[in-house]
């Protein structure tokens, strides 16, 4: 997705109060045409509220929402070029599948035969061919979701808004629907805005993700950048697992910083690997993901540049993966408290799972470290 795409949705300094409660605290956002965009954050952070202000169900206290370049201030939800898939799906229980899907066509001047054909086309697109005559209560969760999708997509909206559409499904179904949603979005090419509290889901599905905490956007980035370079510790904690070790800045220039890290020693970190930490943070920290380091064992080879001594504290076996909690030599050097870090290793043929208490070496590279300060 290139930057010259014009924004499909723009939020400019959007504020929203529910009485005294400040639900959205100045949201600035540009969602590009044709992208799969996610709003990710813990429950209660204001994702649904933001989605509903875009849909037009909630008014905003100040700021502006633009869709396709037009101010939406005086445009009610039923006139906006957006359609919504509700968290509960909101399938009309007194109508059949086909009647549900055709609901939005009531004001459409096209003939009956044409509409019927259109409904069948859309049902086919979501994998519900032949289900038109079913009653709503005869459908499974996954099928209800497809009906909700078809019902929204038949109107050819410029933007499809989805509020936690997969949260009610079991794990298998959810993973299957994730893939189907991505394919569907590529196929029809319209902008999708997804609300989710599941970081994995956001990473899997999105072109870009806005991470929200307490009514504010903490970081807006692509999945890889978000995972590898979280803007602050809170984002790092929310997305995946990240280890933190206390650190001390020895010298800092425009290019980067020389840092002493508890248990890892001195490293040079370029500016790209330095993130601004939250103001309330307790101090300078260095973070890294569990899979970026290699646990050494008999016959183990690696391409890392540094090695550090460690003792295995805990082993958690997951079948395809093993998690090791390691006590790093010298990790207590900076503040007197020894630290354990979590390392994940893929279980491959010929690499045995190591035992608790084993003395070992941890191989790593400064490139996988992120400094939070």
């Amino acid at each position: 997705m290139s930057d010259d795409h014009r924004p499909m949705i723009e939020c400019q300094a959007v504020q929203k109060y529910y009485g005294d409660y400040h639900a959205l605290r100045g949201i600035d956002l540009a969602i590009r045409e044709g992208e799969f965009f996610s709003l990710l954050g813990p429950s209660g952070c204001g994702k649904t509220t933001l989605l509903r202000t875009i849909a037009g169900f909630e008014g905003i206290s100040s700021g502006a929402v633009l869709i396709d370049g037009k101010h939406m201030e005086d445009v009610p939800a039923n006139k906006r070029p957006t359609n919504m898939v509700f968290q509960s799906y909101a399938i009309f229980p007194h109508l059949t599948v086909a009647q549900n899907v055709a609901f939005g066509l009531r004001r459409d001047p096209r003939g009956k035969a044409e509409k019927t054909a259109l409904v069948e086309d859309v049902l086919k697109m979501v994998g519900l061919s032949g289900y038109g005559g079913r009653a709503a209560h005869e459908l499974s969760g996954g099928q209800r979701q497809r009906v909700a999708l078809a019902r929204a997509l038949i109107l050819k909206p410029k933007v499809l808004l989805l509020d936690e559409p997969l949260s009610a499904l079991d794990r298998k179904m959810r993973e299957q629907m994730q893939v189907e949603l991505i394919k569907l979005q590529r196929q029809i090419g319209i902008t999708f805005v997804l609300v989710t509290h599941d970081q994995e889901e956001a990473l899997v599905m999105s072109d870009r993700i806005a991470v929200m905490f307490e009514g504010e956007i903490a970081q807006l980035d692509g999945p890889e950048a978000l995972y590898a370079r979280p803007a602050n510790r809170r984002v790092a904690d929310f997305i995946g697992v990240m280890n933190f070790l206390p650190a001390r800045i020895l010298a800092e220039t425009d290019e980067g910083a020389r840092v002493e890290v508890a248990g890892l020693g001195e490293v040079e970190l370029p500016r790209a690997q330095i993130s601004r930490a939250n103001p309330e943070d307790e101090g300078v920290m260095v973070g890294f993901r569990p899979e970026t380091m290699t646990l050494m064992g008999p016959g183990q080879i690696h391409y890392q540049t540094r090695e550090t001594g460690a003792t295995i504290d805990e082993v958690v076996y997951y079948g395809d993966m093993t998690y090791y909690d390691l006590r790093l030599d010298g990790s207590a050097r900076l503040d007197g408290r020894p630290r354990t870090v979590r390392i994940s290793m893929r279980n491959v043929f010929g690499r045995d799972v190591q035992d608790v208490g084993t003395r070992t070496q941890l191989a790593w590279s400064p490139g996988s470290l992120v400094l939070f300060r």
């Binding site: 039923n78 509960s88 909101a90 007194h94 609901f103 009531r106 209560h137 019902r151």
Partner: protein
């Protein structure tokens, strides 16, 4: 509770006596309605349908019946329509003093009816209004409202709020969304509210007695006839008709109320359809 805990405790006897006291008089209505004797006493004389025939030719009774039906139909429609507004407002929106306002609307349910009737009479006379079946309709609407709201609130609150939003999102107007989605889904509640309001109004005595002026309604007519022993067998016949009618209406009302709950909560309602 197991049956054993009743045994030997006297509670079982109490329960039987209680039910007898409740239903035996009602069971006696049809017995004497078909009894050819004019005196309400055992032994029974013989079988007759004369009392029913006499009932259908009595012009005052016909007038009372006409009045009662007019009042009950009008009051049940009014109470149900107003109840729809109130039930939707209380289940959908937050507004200041909501609890207090809803409480005040529900109070007539527990307020002694004689007080409602008396104060209405004073106000209506004070305002210089003529007593007629219109004033009874107003009074009955007032006492039916709490029941209508109670039934309709259940219907509205078991409805997913996003259904109406979804219809609106799909391009319908607010009214269209209400008419096409909410209304059909709460229809069982509406029917149930209509029937129960109708039944309440049909046999209401105190308000009708105070506010009807010279117009008879069924209950006030029955009361006035009880002074004439000759008329009593016919009143028994009338009572029989009313009991049957009430049971049928309440059963239909309850059927629709349950069906509404089953339908909205997505439980299988196939058995009904």
């Amino acid at each position: 509770m197991s049956q054993r805990s009743f045994e030997g405790s006297g509670l079982r006897i109490y329960a039987i006596l209680y039910l007898l006291f409740l239903y035996a008089p009602i069971a006696l209505l049809p017995v004497f309605a078909f009894n050819s004797g004019t005196i309400i006493a055992f032994p029974l004389q013989g079988f007759t349908t004369d009392w029913f025939a006499q009932m259908s030719t009595n012009s005052t009774l016909r007038r009372a019946l006409g009045n009662s039906l007019t009042i009950a139909v009008s009051a049940s429609i009014l109470a149900t329509c107003l109840g729809i507004f109130a039930a939707r407002a209380t289940t959908r929106f937050e507004f200041p003093f909501k609890g207090g306002i809803m409480g005040l609307i529900m109070v007539p349910m527990v307020l002694p009816e004689i007080i409602v009737a008396m104060s209405l009479l004073v106000v209506l006379l004070g305002a210089g209004l003529q007593l007629s079946i219109l004033t009874v309709i107003a009074g009955h609407t007032l006492i039916c409202m709490p029941y209508a709201i109670a039934i309709l609130s259940t219907a509205f609150s078991s409805l997913d709020k996003s259904l109406e939003e979804a219809a609106y999102d799909l391009g319908e107007t607010r009214w269209g969304a209400f008419r096409l989605v909410t209304l059909p889904l709460v229809m069982p509640g509406i029917i149930s509210s209509l029937l129960i309001s109708f039944t309440i109004s049909l046999d209401e005595f105190i308000i009708a007695f105070f506010l009807a002026g010279n117009e008879p309604t069924l209950p006030t007519y029955i009361f006035s006839q009880l002074r004439f022993p000759k008329q009593i067998p016919m009143i028994m016949a009338l009572g029989t008709v009313l009991v049957v009618l009430s049971i049928v209406l309440l059963a239909i009302g309850e059927y629709f109320r349950r069906r509404g709950i089953a339908r909205i909560s997505g439980k299988d309602s196939g058995g009904f359809q």
